[in-house]
């Protein structure tokens, strides 16, 4: 299995543990991720909040690179771990089905984007989340078969965030109200998944810098719920969610007046643990809230 890979900017910075664990897990599963050479930023929320066209052009540059790379390497799909990048890349492609829009995008680029082409042989690739590819393409049974350290007894609140399955017509993945792909993945790893009702509630996204009051309030809600439902930890699939719940956990605590000690792990880190990968592949030390206590439940010791 070979996928073209778009890491997204945060993977090289604030979500470096996501990046490390994603690569390690894929490698352990025999999935080859081919990182796009010279990829650039998709523009994230700032771009699409500024202009649809600008946002699409920033994404289109990367889609063009991916098209070329996939032609060369024979990679079958384009993958990214970051839901925000995913949303931008998918939305750009979605809009570019409109010829008029696409002409405008092409005008912003050095050279025009390859066409969408007929279904099945699209030169301009669709983007998929790592989560989707692991669950749908690689398959849960195949993952379960490779688990060496089941996460037995670990109660995990699966938190998807808002972007992974929304807007449904563009994302085309899982149930927008009650996604279950990560639930099933965690179950395949042997964990106990708590019925977390706030799976897709917003964490406040990038408001952390300009309006920390908003993120603090929203994150607190999530941390409250996870605590109430008895979770040992929260699993996430998004760098922004992670930042708001982990890095800013204290800010949230301040806002709600409750103190939390809720570890927040990327699902890939949990996969890494279950697959028995070495600590260097898990980058657990990058987390702000230490999962050491929680992981003791499954007999995993880490230096706090």
């Amino acid at each position: 299995m070979k996928f073209a890979y778009y890491p997204g900017c945060s993977g090289k910075g604030t979500s470096v543990e996501y990046e490390i664990s994603t690569k390690a897990v894929c490698s352990a599963l025999g999935i080859y991720l081919q990182e796009l050479a010279d990829w650039s930023c998709c523009g994230s929320t700032p771009a699409h909040a500024t202009d649809t066209l600008l946002s699409a052009a920033l994404s289109a540059r990367n889609l063009s690179l991916a098209a070329e790379a996939m032609k060369q390497s024979g990679a079958t799909k384009l993958a990214t771990p970051c839901p925000s990048c995913l949303a931008n890349l998918k939305t750009a492609r979605h809009h570019m089905a409109n010829q008029e829009f696409r002409r405008k995008v092409d005008k912003l680029l050095d050279s025009p984007c390859p066409p969408l082409g007929p279904k099945g042989e699209e030169p301009l690739p669709e983007t998929y989340s790592i989560l989707q590819l692991l669950v749908e393409d690689y398959g849960l049974e195949n993952i379960a078969a490779k688990v060496t350290r089941p996460l037995k007894g670990l109660k995990i609140a699966p938190y998807y965030g808002c972007l992974l399955s929304r807007p449904a017509p563009i994302m085309q993945f899982d149930d927008p109200e009650n996604p279950t792909s990560m639930d099933r993945l965690l179950e395949a790893l042997g964990a106990e998944v708590v019925p977390f009702p706030l799976k897709t509630e917003c964490c406040g996204a990038a408001m952390g810098i300009p309006r920390r009051d908003i993120t603090a309030r929203l994150s607190a809600r999530l941390l409250d719920a996870a605590t109430t439902f008895g979770a040992d930890m929260i699993a996430v699939a998004c760098p922004l969610c992670h930042m708001n719940l982990d890095l800013r956990q204290e800010q949230a605590a301040k806002a709600s007046g409750v103190s939390y000690d809720m570890p927040v792990l990327y699902f890939t880190q949990l996969m890494g643990i279950a697959l028995g990968l070495p600590d260097s592949d898990l980058a657990l030390d990058k987390l702000s809230v230490s999962p050491a206590a929680a992981l003791q439940k499954i007999g995993k010791e880490i230096s706090a």
Binding site: V16, S44, A47, C202, R212
Partner: protein, 186 residues
Amino acid sequence: MDSINLRARDEAFIREVEKESGQNISTCYQCGNCTAGCPCGPVYDLQVNQIMRAIQLGDKKTVLEAASPWLCVSCSTCSARCPNDIDVARVMDTVRHIGRREGKTKYVINAFWDSFLQTVRFCGRSYELGIMALFMLRTGRFYTDLDLAPRMLPKKKMPYLPHLIRGKAAVSRIFKRFNDMQQYDD
């Protein structure tokens, strides 16, 4: 308080929003579901359904002067649950686009976005420390997230230097052409 002037309906504005967002605003029947599910509703000055109503009325001034669109986190919950299948989040995006073109960029978030895009423009990728620096310069809020620095820096989660990519000039040209096109359009 002003009364609503129904005859001052700005049809061009309604069409502009509808065209750019691709949504039919008139199908909104004001059930309020967008507001009900909005995570930011409590901090909005004008609720999402009220923004929609103001667009229906062609009340451009009210729409563009509202702070709410600039507080929206684009989580698309409103779109997912709209009983009339309106992509409300896209309407909010569109309101921001129009606002930006009309110079309504007085909000803190604009400073953040601009800082972000500026780093992309020059480096090809976003550069987190650069964003913080530019944001503080723009807003004068030098204390922003200083409390997080002790957690971030030792873990090496914020590289000191930007990732400069080979194609950074190509990315930069996208921004340039975009700005040129905007001016030409205006």
